[in-house]
Amino acid sequence: MPLSILLPMVVLGIACIAVLLHLLGLSRRATLPDAAAARAAWLREFPGDAPVHVTLCQDHSAALIETETGRGVVWPMGADTTARHLTGARTRRTKTGLRLDLPDYTAPRIHLTLAPDEAAAWQDALKETA
């Protein structure tokens, strides 16, 4: 197929599908209904490192996890979730909460939506981890 046809078709096709998905309401991010859901999401990534304490953020979008090996975070990846240990993480306050910079090429930056008092508390907790 000539590139002059293939290229516009690919670009338009991708754009149309992305817009359609968004208009259909399929851009909603996952939420963690309760601490049990956060715990399950953590164990899905780290089945051998059970949480001893779970702090669910107020809007249920993420959770701070404490295990015997250290702290970690569960956060939404689109309609799903993922999790990381927070060893070596740097924190920075943002207008909407907290930004975590991780020494991890597969999860370099995590934006957490937190209330101001919550962001301060999480930042304090994470200072001990970094």
């Binding site: 078709m9 599908i17 899905r44 689109g78």
Partner: protein, 316 residues
């Protein structure tokens, strides 16, 4: 020897079909409320990966094709282009695909290229298009060498490889359950390939087939989809980014970081490149074999069921 043979570039011609089928699957899911899941950023990443794969084929395709034409110059054999030869080439190329795919899961250097195809936590037709940008650097084109040396023209080999990829597109769906028993017995199907995309310990490293599932049955890597164990899609450690650049290159970055750690022997550095994903010099990580063994230790009742090993003391 016939050098001026042309076959259609079937993958590029199938692009409109891919777009139409994605829209049809999406509408089916939205209308019926079942048959899979879509999410905007996930799908967008998959589609960009697909476009990047086409771009990398255009930019780097000459490497493999040049290699194949060199072999074609060398070989004294020419099987021609009859229908029978094309069918035979398709079947043998599917066997070639099985082994390349198996290497892609068992050799980290090749996994670095293939991993992005497994990096979505969704399983829909866009996942089929989440393809590598770095396939050329795995040097897996050498596995096609025997076909060309046997007398299959390089253009034909690439043509049947394209047909193989097109076949594999439609099996990336949850909208189709099980197909008739005779079909499931011979062909790769949505059910078999869902298993291949699972991150459940049971479903790791199995069902490598492209078109014919018989290769997995022949070489002992077949695991059926179990009613009692729903497939959990994605990687053992799921990505925390939708950035296509990071999706495409993350495992290569991981190899470089691991292999250049201070204090390793040269053998350990090499092993970080060629041993199965999850291998580490200090056993601080888990390979799929170790994950399966741990899962069986934690769930002894599952020992020696499809995809899982026996308990250690039951090993002959």
């Amino acid at each position: 020897m016939t050098d001026m043979i042309t076959f259609p570039d079937v993958v590029n011609w199938a692009v409109p079909l891919f777009i139409a089928a994605i829209l049809a699957e999406l509408l089916w899911i939205v209308i019926k409320g079942r048959g899979g899941r879509y999410e905007t950023r996930d799908a967008l990443t998959s589609l960009i990966m697909g476009a990047g794969n086409v771009a990398s084929s255009i930019l780097l395709g000459f490497v493999a094709y040049g290699f194949f034409m060199l072999l074609w110059e060398i070989t004294p054999l020419d099987l021609g282009t009859s229908i029978g030869v094309i069918v035979l080439c398709f079947v043998l190329d599917d066997l070639r695909y099985y082994w390349v795919h198996r290497f892609g899961h068992r050799i980290r250097w090749v996994w670095a290229s293939h991993v992005n195809h497994h990096s979505s936590q969704h399983y829909n037709l866009t996942t089929a298009l989440r393809q590598t940008w770095t396939g050329t650097f795995t040097f897996m084109m050498v596995v096609r060498a025997p076909l060309i040396l046997l007398g299959f023209h390089p253009a034909m080999v690439l043509f049947v490889g394209g047909l193989n990829l097109i076949y594999q597109f439609w099996i990336h769906t949850e909208a189709i359950g099980r197909l008739p028993r005779w079909f499931e017995a011979v062909m790769n199907t949505p059910s078999h390939h869902r298993v291949h995309h699972g991150r459940n310990p049971r479903y790791l490293d199995c069902n490598y087939a492209g078109v014919f599932i018989i290769w997995d049955k022949l070489f002992g890597t077949f695991v059926p989809e179990m009613e009692e164990e729903k497939v959990d899609y994605g990687l053992v450690h799921n990505l925390g980014t939708f950035n296509p650049i990071r999706v495409a290159f993350h495992e290569w970055v991981g190899i470089v970081r691991d292999a250049t750690q201070p204090g390793l022997t040269w053998r350990e550095r090499l092993n970080y490149c060629v041993m199965p994903p999850g291998w580490s010099h200090d056993d601080s990580r888990e390979t799929s074999g170790a994950i399966k063994a741990r899962h069986v230790r934690q769930n002894p009742d599952l020992a020696d069921t499809p995809g899982l090993p026996p308990l250690p003391d039951q090993t002959p």
